[in-house]
């Protein structure tokens, strides 16, 4: 065997520079392994194999620590801000769009009847000073909707990274909403599933607790197809089953972090059984 370190994590490196060596462990690759410890000694990178393993361990620990902290920086707290901002953009853009539509009607744009028509107005050439101001606001609405959509796709990419089970089960956006309502993933993981079931229905819940309303069957999880797609008579059961599994998913994501296909299959089976019942 040639005494070269081709392909090794330590090839061409000064092992006392831990940062650079850690990056090589994190990002490097090779098609096939070789007797790296022997090669490290032969090429004079280290004096003996015991030293090799000591250096490798210290550098591998540094690389793993870096990977973990990078993960924790791109975490659930950021997603809470992102989803709240997304909802603010939604609400504000719609409110503004209604105002724009009303104003447009008074300026003779008879086809701009509601918030959905504002994008069309933003494409038109304004005539007159006030029409220009209206046009500016219409463009603001369009920009806000674009921002909202970009934010949504960022959330869709980010949530599966730290909550693989929750986002498989609820979708990334609903997962982000649940995390935001709970505060963070840890708090969501610690909530009883009955609370997860009514997260987002706090007004109805307090009305019920004060004694003048029935208990709410579901909060934001109503948007989940397993609740909405179940006949009204069985929605309570579907919401309870979904909330139970969402709690389990959040706990696995928070405490262990690995993907568990079996919990998703168990929920699918349970919902199928509920939906088979007679209305």
């Amino acid at each position: 065997m040639d005494a070269d370190g081709d392909g090794a994590w330590f090839d061409g490196l000064d092992l006392t520079n831990e940062e650079v060596a850690a990056r090589s462990i994190a990002r490097g690759e090779a098609a096939s392994p070789r007797d790296w410890p022997a090669l490290a000694v032969e090429t004079g990178v280290v004096t003996d194999e015991a030293t090799y393993y000591r250096r490798l361990q210290a550098i591998a620990i540094a690389a793993a620590r870096e990977a973990v902290s990078r993960y924790e920086g791109a975490d659930d707290r950021q997603v809470v801000h992102a989803v709240n901002t997304m909802d603010d953009l939604d609400r504000t853009a719609n409110e503004l769009a209604e105002r724009v539509a009303e104003w447009a009607g008074s300026l003779g744009h008879d086809d701009i009847a509601g918030p959905g028509d504002v994008a069309r107005l933003a494409d038109r050439e304004p005539a007159g000073m006030l029409a220009e101001r209206l046009h500016d606001v219409a463009q603001t609405v369009v920009r806000m909707r674009e921002d909202r959509n970009t934010l949504a796709s960022t959330i869709e990419r980010t949530v599966p990274e730290f909550a693989p089970n929750l986002s498989e089960m609820a979708g990334p956006i609903l997962s982000a909403r649940l995390i935001a309502l709970a505060g963070d993933l840890e708090r969501l993981a610690k909530l009883p599933s009955g609370t997860v079931q009514v997260l987002g229905a706090e007004d109805a819940l307090f009305a019920h607790l004060e004694g003048h309303a029935p208990s709410p069957k579901h909060g934001v999880i109503f948007t989940h197809e397993y609740v909405r797609g179940t006949p009204p008579a069985h929605r309570g059961s579907a919401a309870r089953a979904l909330a139970g599994k969402l709690s389990i998913a959040a706990r696995i994501d928070h405490y262990s972090g690995d993907y568990r296909p079996e919990i998703h299959a168990a929920l699918d089976e349970r919902i199928a059984r509920i939906q088979e019942r007679d209305a």
């Binding site: 392994p33 410890p37 393993y53 591998a60 620990i61 973990v68 079996e262």
Partner: protein, 217 residues
């Protein structure tokens, strides 16, 4: 009855005979005279030893562990062997694995995907004695085959196949049959036992690589 590997012993903890290894305790686990209890209800490797499966474990070895998780099993292996390359992809359990690596010489933590051995073949050496595998992906057999490249010709694959991760819709026995056939192309299976009831729907497999190289992943 196969004897336990050197470095593993049955010791009494609170009146119960349990497997144990000798090393610094992690957290508040039970110890007696320097021996740490090795829980066969949580560690599949311990469950295999508890059932007297011959896994080929011995002091002085260099091993690769895929699916290291929080590193409990890795810590016991490190009490016995010289070097454990511990591969775990999920960042959260790696925090605990790092604590294990900090407290034990020879534990090399790698935040890598076991389905992509190229991403760690520049670090993990060839000619290893044992390849442990406990991963929860669908492609458990192809992971074992792709990682065969790290094993010495007389090395051993020690693997816990998890039926419910491979296919939840089929009967575990049917899943295991397919898995054994797939593994059989690259490995000669020496022993296979269900780990029920301690580990439900798990099949423990000990195998050695087939001599030809045509199945290198």
């Amino acid at each position: 009855m196969t004897s336990l590997p050197s470095g593993v012993s049955r010791r009494e903890f609170n009146g119960q005979q349990r497997l144990a290894t000798r090393g610094d305790p992690i957290g508040d686990e039970p110890t007696t005279n320097g021996w740490r209890a090795w829980d066969s209800a949580t560690s599949k490797v311990a469950a295999m030893l508890d059932r007297d499966m011959a896994i080929g474990l011995a002091p002085g070895q260099r091993v690769l562990y895929l699916g290291a998780a929080a590193g409990t099993t890795v810590s016991h292996l490190a009490d016995i062997v010289d070097v454990v390359y511990a591969v775990e992809f999920a960042p959260r359990p790696v925090r605990d694995l790092l604590a294990v690596a900090d407290s034990r010489a020879g534990v090399i933590p790698l935040v890598k995907d076991a389905r992509q051995p190229d991403s760690y073949a520049h670090v993990v050496e060839s000619g290893l004695d044992l390849l442990f595998q406990d991963v929860a992906t669908r492609e458990q057999t192809s992971v074992a085959i792709a990682n065969r490249r790290f094993l010495a010709a007389d090395g051993r694959l020690v693997c816990a196949l998890k039926a419910r991760s491979i296919d939840v819709t089929r009967e575990p026995e049917a899943v295991f049959e397919t898995a054994r056939a797939e593994l059989g192309e690259a490995y000669e299976i020496l022993a296979a036992e269900r780990l029920d009831p301690l580990h439900r729907d798990h099949l423990a497999v000990v195998a050695r690589p087939r001599p030809n190289d045509e199945h290198e992943g």
